[in-house]
């Protein structure tokens, strides 16, 4: 098969996951858990194979963009959007990341969800998870492979939906398994925040259409130079709103930490490795537009830089193992957005790829830690239950209590304050986590080092302000990762559960090992001097140049990272945290730490300023304007009331009774009197009528005769 033949396979990257989800949806009821997981993983894996084939075809071919027409979609007047697939180096890179990391996470999820559904007592929900996951892969593939902004938007909203469904996967409880609306609130928040971003995207799309008369990438990019700069600026700024929504940048980042309510594989796949990077992809994809709008680039870079620093500070003050990673993700996304904003598209995409590896690794390992804690918790409860008849009775009573209310003391398996010393109980997970953490901290020679330094080097050259923001963020990154590793894996267990924690099975650890290998070796993608990724992407993104390796920058950032790790060691390992002890940093920083811990009260601020106000406005409109004004006042009082008043009071009483009635009644009275006397004739007896007739005839005949 020639390379052009390979390109025609591209629709399969969408339809294989769709096939997987349809099979699981229709026949899944009769299949075992293993089979369901295997089908879903195979569907994603095959999509990965297709992506590899596409990559090979591009590699061996000219590397130029290939558009594969697939189907007509919307055609109205001069609006013509077809579903075409765009195969170029950028989209194939994204496909590889999505399906590659996706496959590993699917495999991991076979093991993870097996236990998760049991801990949460809802085994039938296992199938639903894989259906949603495959749907996500399909939507993400549509996003990265679409040939127009509208197709990108289809995937964009589609992944938002999957994110909603998966964050709210345990929709009937909170993160600790208590019955609550918490998880579904988190899901809703994610969807709505994303929709705010989508609003920006839509406005950008409309503007684009009316100026370019097309939404296809090819048409838009080739015409971009002929369009007024102000329009391009407008478009790119509104696209940024979309980016901020999807990639959790300031001011729309608030949904991502809450999104951790989803099962851990979801956090890893959607909220770390793939979906959230869609914004970065969008900016990279729109490179021809952004390069024409320097102000937009500045804005994007600043948003990215500020987000990177802002989120890193919050991550320092978190106790939940996944929340730390969530804020870390926001921060790292800030790095990427800053990079693509500065025009360092390759550096941004490079970091996107390496981040997908090590952040997925971190999340999945964190999942493994949480499962280990859950197992410990389970054992503990079990042991107690079988200790003596008395304690069995107590457990029984507790069960009753937990059924009726939530009086049971709730154990949070994700709270780092409950952990400690886990490296002994979970050695494999520990090593994997360590690799991930070092890669994220940017320690040579792991993947994160290369990609982060490329961003920093570019920033140093192009945008010093952002460079400093990012450097401080990088320092904090190393610090909070150090803090996390010390708190979780070192020291002594701070909770009985942590002592009983257990290592995870192979189905969970093996995908992690693959990811760990990638996190170590990922830097090879774009080593200084070789620049594989740069030469790969320059087919798609015009004018990218290989950044120079800057020893000063690399040295400074490595030095800072090591310093940060040392500091965290000083604080968290030299004197390990004891049970119930306050965070040592809190003593040191005082109220500043509280600010970090409480996330700058951004949620509270949004809640007070936007959410509550909207609820108030909605209530006001519904109750006062629509209810009391339109309905009760205008309709009932003014319209119906006036009519009733007119008809009853004025017309009925006034005009009718006193005037018209007076005449009518007078006539009526007269008629009545006459008729009363006449009524006697009308007695209803036929006989009398007949007699009258007879008499009448006699009279008439008599008259005729006598005349």
């Amino acid at each position: 098969m020639g390379s052009s033949g390979l390109f025609s396979l591209v629709p399969l990257i969408v339809f294989l996951p769709v096939a997987g989800l349809l099979i699981n949806m229709i026949f899944g009821g009769r299949l075992s858990e293993k089979t369901i997981g295997a089908i879903a993983s195979a569907a994603t894996g095959l999509a990965f194979v297709i992506a590899v084939l596409l990559g090979v075809a591009l590699w061996t071919g000219s590397g130029e963009t290939v558009v594969v027409p697939f189907a007509d979609w919307i055609h109205i007047g001069d609006l013509n959007v077809a579903w075409n697939f765009r195969v170029d180096t950028l989209s194939v890179l994204m496909m590889l990341v999505v399906s590659g990391v996706g496959t590993l996470i699917h495999i991991y999820a076979i093991g993870y969800m097996h236990e998760d559904v049991r801990f949460k007592h809802d085994i039938p929900r296992y199938r639903r998870f894989f259906v949603f996951m495959n749907l996500f892969i399909a939507m993400m593939m549509i996003l990265v492979s679409g040939d127009s902004y509208l197709m990108l938007f289809v995937g964009w909203e589609g992944v938002g939906l999957c994110s909603f469904l998966l964050i709210g996967f345990w929709y009937d409880m909170d993160t600790l398994g208590r019955p609550s609306f918490a998880n579904s609130n988190a899901a809703k928040k994610a969807f709505i925040t994303n929709r705010i971003g989508d609003f920006g995207f839509l406005i950008a799309g409309f503007t684009m259409f009316w100026w370019f008369k097309s939404l296809n990438f090819g048409d838009v990019f080739s015409m971009a130079t002929t369009i007024p700069a102000g329009v391009i600026l407008f478009i790119t700024i509104f696209l940024l709103v979309g980016v901020a929504g999807k990639s959790a940048q300031i001011p729309l980042f608030v949904w991502l930490p809450d999104a951790m309510a989803g099962p851990t594989p979801v956090s890893a796949l959607i909220h770390a490795a793939t979906m959230v990077t869609a914004g970065v992809y969008l900016v990279a994809r729109s490179a021809p537009l952004y390069t024409l709008a320097p102000q937009a680039q500045t804005t994007v870079a600043l948003v990215g830089g500020i987000t990177a620093l802002f989120a890193a500070t919050i991550a320092v003050g978190q106790y939940d193992i996944k929340k730390v990673l969530a804020y870390s993700t926001i921060s790292q996304l800030g790095f990427m957005v800053a990079a693509v904003g500065m025009g360092a598209f390759v550096a941004g995409m490079f970091h996107l790829v390496t981040h997908a590896f090590f952040k997925a690794l971190l999340f999945l390992s964190a999942g493994s830690v949480i499962l280990g804690m859950e197992r410990g918790h389970h054992h503990l409860a079990h042991q107690e239950g079988h200790g003596s008849p008395e304690s069995a009775d107590r457990e029984h009573r507790q069960q009753e209590l937990s059924d009726s209310g939530h009086l049971e003391e709730v154990f949070d398996p994700g709270d780092m304050r409950n952990m400690g010393g886990l490296r002994k109980q979970m050695p494999v997970t520990f090593w994997l986590y360590l690799i991930g953490a070092l890669a994220l901290a940017g320690i040579f020679p792991l993947a994160g080092f290369w990609s982060k330094d490329e961003i920093l080097a570019d920033a140093f050259q192009k945008f010093p302000a952002v460079y400093w923001l990012l450097t401080i963020a990088a320092f904090l990154t190393a610090f909070y990762m150090g803090r996390q590793v010390w708190m979780v894996f070192f020291g002594k267990p701070r909770h009985a559960v942590a002592e009983k924690a257990e290592e995870s099975p192979k189905v969970i650890t093996v995908p992690l090992m693959v990811l760990a290998a990638l996190a170590i070796l990922g830097g090879a993608l774009n080593l200084p001097g070789i620049h594989t990724l740069t030469s790969w992407l320059e087919h798609t993104i015009a004018g990218v140049e290989a950044g120079e390796f800057n020893f000063l920058v690399a040295g400074l950032s490595t030095g800072l990272a090591l310093l940060a790790i040392f500091l965290s060691w000083l604080l968290y390992e030299r004197q390990p945290l004891a049970e119930g002890q306050k965070d040592p940093l809190k003593k040191l920083l005082g109220p500043v730490f509280t600010v970090f811990e409480r996330k700058y009260w951004v949620d509270e601020f949004y809640w007070a300023v936007f959410v509550n106000r909207y609820v108030d406005i909605a209530r006001f409109l519904a109750n006062v304007i629509d209810g009391r004004f339109w309905h009760d006042f205008v309709h009932e009082k003014v319209i119906a009331g006036t009519y009733n008043w007119l008809s009853r009071t004025v017309l009925d009483l006034g005009v009718d009774r006193h005037f018209i009635d007076a005449i009518a009644n007078g006539l009526g009275e007269l008629t009545k009197r006459i008729s009363t006397s006449l009524r006697r004739l009308q007695n209803g007896f036929v006989r009398s009528y007949a007699l009258a007739v007879l008499l009448g005839v006699v009279v008439i005949v008599g008259y005729l005769l006598l005349k």
Partner: protein
Amino acid sequence: MNFITNPLILVTFFPLVGVLALLFIPADKKNVLRWTTLVASLLTFGLSIWMLTMFNKSNPDLQLGFSLPWIQVAGWNISFAMGVDGLSILLVLLTTFLTPIAILSTWTAVEERVKDFMIFFTLLEMGMLGVFLAQDLFLFYIFWEFTLVPMYFLIGIWGGPRRIYAAIKFFLYTMAGSILMLLAILWLGIYQGTFSVPELITKGGIPGNVQLWLFLAFAAAFAIKVPMWPLHSWLPDAHVEAPTAGSVILAGVLLKMGTYGFLRFNLPMFPEAALKAAPWMALLAVIGIIYGAAVSYAQKDIKKLVAYSSVSHLGFVMLGLFALNAQGIEGGILQMINHGLSTGALFLLVGMVYEQTHTREFSVYGGLWKIMPVYGAVMLIVSLSSMGLPGLNGFIGEFAILLGAFGSKAIGSPWFAGVAAAGVILAAVYILYMFQKIFLGPEGSIVEEVKKHGHALRDLNLREIVTVAPLLVLIFWIGLYPKPFFELIAPAVEKLLMAFPH
């Protein structure tokens, strides 16, 4: 042309055959009545498909039509004229498509006076079809008013506790607007010498200021029917009190008579006035979009939420129509269909759970997805369609409308579309709120409440699945492959747009 075998005549009046059959069935044979009505409505649907096969989609003009002299007294030139074109064919199909579905939904919901119900329902179908097919203003007016009567009884007899109030309000509001329209129709008929719609359009020549008055008179009738903000006050009452099938038809078809009226009469007959009015209509539409979305979010009753969401959705349709460009109008027409499908489906689904729980208060619901997985999945799809998720029908319509309005010269400013696009966010807010409060979170008190009455909540049964399945098919079909639908609409819209400067 043989009058009796004309497809339009057959489609419109076939329901009368059903009524005739129903008259001969004893009132206590409920299932026979239901089946007869269902079969009659399915046959009507079949006839409309037959009509579709004869429809030439590349022809922008009225087709399959006829015009017979009808009342020719005192210089009045009233004819019995019917015809179908791209503007109306989808609405005709929507009507014949939704009616059997609505009838299926009454199977167990309506137990009293089944015969009367079915007769009224079938008569209603005839009236609606007549509205969409009539091409003579006088005939149109007769059908337009005719639809009020069966709907009045459907709400007033089989409705909720405040049904009489709602029915009278519905009747009077619509009637009040129609009076103005009647005056305008008489003016046109007398001064233009004909009541025939195509003739009036080609004749034109109405001076600008008169056009404006006529436009407003017609608009009064249609805006109440749509309903446009601020004339929407009757809608929530009517919806909340109407029986499920009535709500489905009310939201699905009756409201479309208003938007269709704008499209069929206001735009082509009074183009100058329409151009002048466009920004104002767009303003009202945008207020309706935002207002409807916000108000529906604050509702405590599920059906009321859906009712107010109609105000918002119909706002989109109006915005599209008055964009006066291909994207806006075609999107608007498609959105009429979409709204019929998705809001119709929402009302059906709400009715299905209401039948089991007898309450529509959000506060008692919650966590139903676990108990009713199929119901939850169907509701999810329908909700997403209603909030315009790409890949489902709602998106195509909304996107086209907003795109059209954004660049519309008639509206003149992208601000309208910009604000309306924010309505898309608000749509997500209230739809997700609804979905969450019913299906997500912990089990609501209603689950126990129903158990107390000796039966647990059950998932959808086969009949209910059959009822919603066709809607789901179309929701996906329009979302994924809208081309055949646009092909039907496009030529007629292009012809319509020729009246406007570009």
